[in-house]
Symmetry: C2
Subunit: 277 residues, 2 copies
């Protein structure tokens, strides 16, 4: 594992690491923000999953989260959005292939050889983080758009794994919207019963729980409500009494200008869950 | 003049505009952050000048300044770093030509036809801003690296024009360092007496005043001290009793991770100068 970037930031360090992934069978990068507190003690971890076309860079350069992570003593780990490299299957569309892994385990070829982002996120990355960085046992997860889908879905599939969840403009029902249908057909095949285990709305409807969760959606988001069917999940959470707060923000769009405007509240939300014993 | 971007950000608006510059004879873009207060009243303006290779995008996507501009009620205008376009002279080097205008008026061909960033910044842009946005009469200026040179130089040449000045990792003595010597030789010719009027250190040594000024320099900056001869200006300011605060920060480099870590203090510094009557 090689450190490829290291920048002082708000008294801590914003780093980027490169490693050979045993699960994805390719070279991968991930970003770690080490708050000042990590120099002296183990700290909790917030995982971040980015959206379509993004990499580990988007959060760390554009969101401005480091100020709050530094204040609150939270390590933030941002992974890439798919396997990468010339040997890895790809597609010319921006919403499929590299940059669009959807945080699932693909079953269809040629994708199944590398597109195993769920296993990478839930097995390989936590082990790497635990062995190389000063973490305690508490962790939360957040994401944007496709990464909001990832954060919700991974939390729903793994009760107790995370202390809290948050999402900006998440894809909440991928089986029912064009982005998700395209990706799921490609990666999982046309048997839609195979899609259910990767669909947050289906998981919530079928009894999977969530920890305290915060979801923000901009009302000037060009992908709302066609791709981002936020109200479907909101209605389900009401029926199931899941502890999810939904907020709708006039004027805000799908960009990191939206994320940066509310990232402080997400960090404080997670820190409260991560630091209660 | 056409608005090409508009994003809600911290209760205000981050916009990007495109216009035909009468002075530069090409299409140019600039960014304007309108704080929430600008909806109801005129506000002061902070101009931002970026560094080599940058455009109007770097500050607005990476610095995280909008939170503080929104709180303090300051409009922030970020211009591009050179004239742009296929008809505009360029160079294959990253530190010359487009993206490297050095905020001066070129006298040598082929540059003199378009590279008149000093006139653009001091004449055309303030008139555009005053006629299209709700500004009051108070303004300050800041910048990074080549833009730090620009902010200091323009303020030194125009006593009374700005209420305050700040710079991250500025080129303070371009006549004495490789970046500046290359640019000045190219744009101004080999007669070094023609360089003096564009050199902050020379201007300060020769009696030009500065308003309250804040300069931050990272000690892990790879361009310090060879290109960024901060101490030369610091010594001059002491001799001349100029009101300039110099701060040196261990571990910080030349990137926007450095800028974002201290941009709050710069915004508060400028707001204090801009809002005192």
């Amino acid at each position: 594992m090689t450190r490829v970037e290291r920048h002082a930031s708000f008294g801590g360090w914003q780093e980027v690491w490169q490693h050979r992934s045993d699960i994805l069978h390719c070279e991968m990068k991930f970003a770690v923000y080490l708050p000042p507190q990590a120099a002296n003690q183990p700290v909790p971890v917030l995982y971040w999953l980015s959206g379509l076309t993004c990499s580990e860079q988007n959060l760390i350069t554009k969101a401005g989260f480091q100020r709050y992570a530094a204040e609150l003593g939270v390590m933030v780990v941002a992974i890439d959005t798919s396997p990468r490299g010339e040997d890895v299957a790809d597609d010319s569309a921006w919403d499929l292939g590299q940059g669009a892994g959807f945080y699932l385990n693909a079953t269809q070829q040629p994708w199944a050889a590398h597109f195993l982002m769920y296993d990478y996120l839930t097995k390989e990355i936590p082990a790497l983080i635990a062995s190389h960085f000063p973490t305690n046992a508490r962790q939360s997860i957040a994401g944007h758009s496709m990464g909001g889908h990832g954060a919700l879905m991974v939390a729903l599939k793994n009760p107790g794994l995370f202390q809290s969840v948050s999402a900006f403009a998440p894809i909440v029902a991928p089986s029912q919207v064009p982005w998700g249908q395209k990706a799921f057909t490609t990666y999982l095949g046309s048997d839609t019963t195979q899609w259910q285990q990767w669909d947050s709305l289906w998981l919530a409807e079928n009894g999977h729980p969530l920890p305290p969760t915060l979801i923000d959606q901009g009302l000037a988001d060009p992908f709302y409500p066609q791709q981002l069917t936020t109200e479907l999940l909101e209605n389900c959470c009401k029926e199931k009494s899941l502890p999810v707060t939904f907020r709708y923000h006039p004027d805000y769009d799908h960009s990191y200008y939206f994320i940066s405007s509310f990232i402080e509240e997400h960090l404080r939300f997670h820190a409260a869950a991560l630091t209660v014993s």
